[in-house]
Amino acid sequence: MTQEQQGGQSADTSGFIGHTGAKIFHQMLLEEGVDIIFGYPGGSVLPIFDELYDTPIQFILTRHEQGACHMADGYARSTGKTGVVLATSGPGATNLVTGLATAMMDSIPMVAFTGQVKSHLIGNDAFQEADTTGITRPVCKHNYLCKDVNDLGRIIKEAFHIASSGRPGPVLVDIPVDITVAKAEKEPDFSMSLPGYKPRGGRGNERQVKLACEAINNAERPVLYVGGGVILSNGSEALRAIAQKGKLPTTTTLLGLGAFDETDPLSLKMLGMHGTAYANHAVQQSDCLVSVGARFDDRVTGDLTKFAPKAKIIHIDIDPASISKTVSVDIPLVGDAKCILEQMLPYIETKERPQWHGQIDEWKKKYPLAYKAEGNIKPQEVIDQLGKMTDHDAIIATGVGQHQMWAAQFYGWTKPRQIQTSGGLGTMGYGVPAAIGAQFGNPDKLVVDIDGDGSFSMTMVEIITAVRYDMPTKFIVLDNDYLGMVRQWQEMFYSRRYSGVAHPCPEFTMIARGYGAQAAKITDRSELADGLNEMINSDGPYVLHVCVEQEENVFPMVAAGKALDDMVMGELI
């Protein structure tokens, strides 16, 4: 294998003829403005790694490809840029699957590159061969198998375009190793001829916009229900303007947290299975529900047949397939959330609706989120205190489970792109790598992973990645020695028959120190404030192991299959 002489790399894409596939790969990444790649090397990507030997692009070696994928995801969510992952063929590629599916469900822009065995060996069960495009097709927005080096430049350009436009999502490019050493004989076709891909972005239909605004203006009990689409379209400011002008109570989904400042009196915080009672009641009583960049997920709606029964439903979404998928919509508006919100603003009238706001205030007083700071440390108070001590301004990642819901309920979200959490797929183990990925995108910001002992255990190996690359990411492990959310369901619905949920934990502080991070363990309330303070003010990566109440439950809770306002409230609410 003869490699081109490597010299000073530049973003010069004027010529591709005579360049190897690996060089074209590198040129295209520079052209696309990629500044960081998360990945893991292997046999079939050797020529690519050779090309990256003295690249100006930062390459982050993770300890597992799944970690690389989640880091790229956290990087993308927190910065709005497209995350880039690179892995080898076979197991390298299959280890990406969870990360790709996570990004797909939450519409996160990402481009994954995988090596593949030599073209002529494909289908022969060669060493480290897997049908990567076949395996990843359902978990990607699109994918490519590049079979000709002359197509590689075009494919990479298209991949970045598809990943980041319309409803974003992951795109995978599978590159056989012989393609990376073959030399191009033609310039790539950059015409972006994608006859089957014309994403709906931009403005909505003007007539529909007016119709929607009319419905909102005429409503007595309007509610804005906001999802991750508003964050993806950078539409938070437009949302705030509409909500405040129209005095519209606003609730967000898990992925929408931060799209609307929760300190705003109009905020109803999160809705859904573990949403606030006042958000859920407001939605159920609403006569005009305006969904912006959300998709009526079953964790949001509860029993569909009883969902928002009195409401006229307006649905703003970039994906026509989301419209009337589960809930039948009265006024659909297809387009970019930000554009449509800006279009709507002039038509929205300021209305007081004292009765509606009075009712909501009453619910807020009656059903506040609550916990009792007694006995063992409560997981909620850790998050509550963290929120106050960080001025609700830190970037927060989470795993999946009880701690994720408590984080959603108690941190106090003020800014878009502040939360990194796996909403759609519910991927345990997402928190550690996502936090580190977000830190790479925001090196000067405080990034904290609020994790559970279960989720943390799945991917804690990546702490060494934070240590190695001097990323000062903080990790709080809320340790209850249980897989808490499953235990809660077993307690509530399976007569406390705890099956497969006891989760004894190792001494996380020793593990963290073994990786080279600082660490502390706290078991008593009296240590909490100081413990958090020391963590926040530490220089490097830091693991704070907090032993919390073992059988604390997340409330309110809408049990599966129940109506949204049929909540189990717990004793304190």
Binding site: T133, R137, P138, I162, P195, G196, R200, D317, D319, A321
Partner: protein, 170 residues
């Protein structure tokens, strides 16, 4: 209820897998799926018969449109269209019964394409119900083998499109 959907797709490897995978992943039932070339070598036409109510049909259409290599989707819900299925069927026919069966063949404007001592192969094309009727009629003689292409469909003249949606992609 059966619905006929026609999709123009880019003629590229993996498109069929993508479309078939999407159907499987979303739990839609395919009654038949036909892929063939079109007048443009870069494009193929898939004609898909799905089973489901109107809401399912709408979702199928939208999800199909989301597949990057699918260029255009049309359903024939409210359209006046021609549908054709073609079948090869080998029927057990003894020499004595030949005239009877040939009369049926004639009546259905089908064609006997192969005859041997104890069987006859018939080629027949037409709308699905015609094919079904023919099968019913020859069943008593005994069916050796049967192959059908599945439905292809096209809208009748004038307006080029039915309820066509183009590239509603996100």
């Amino acid at each position: 209820m059966k619905h006929v959907i026609s999709a123009i797709v880019e003629n590229q490897p993996g498109v069929l897998a993508h479309v078939a995978g999407m159907f499987a992943a979303r739990g839609y039932n395919i009654d038949s799926l036909v892929v063939g070339r079109t007048e443009d070598p870069a494009l193929s036409r898939m004609t898909i018969v799905v089973i489901g109510d109107e809401q399912v049909l709408e979702q199928v259409r939208k999800q199909l449109e989301k597949v990057i290599n699918v260029v255009r989707v049309r359903d024939f819900m409210d359209a006046d269209y021609i549908q054709r299925d073609m079948m090869l069927i080998r029927v057990h026919v003894t020499p004595e019964k030949r005239p009877e069966v040939l009369a049926l063949v004639e009546m259905f404007r089908a064609k006997a394409v192969d005859i041997c001592r104890n069987s006859m192969m018939v080629e027949i094309a037409g709308p699905e119900d015609k094919i079904e009727a023919f099968i019913d009629l020859v069943r008593p003689y005994g069916i050796h083998e049967l192959a059908r292409t599945g439905i292809i469909a096209m809208q009748r003249g004038k307006s080029k499109t039915g309820s066509e949606t183009q590239n509603g992609k996100a």
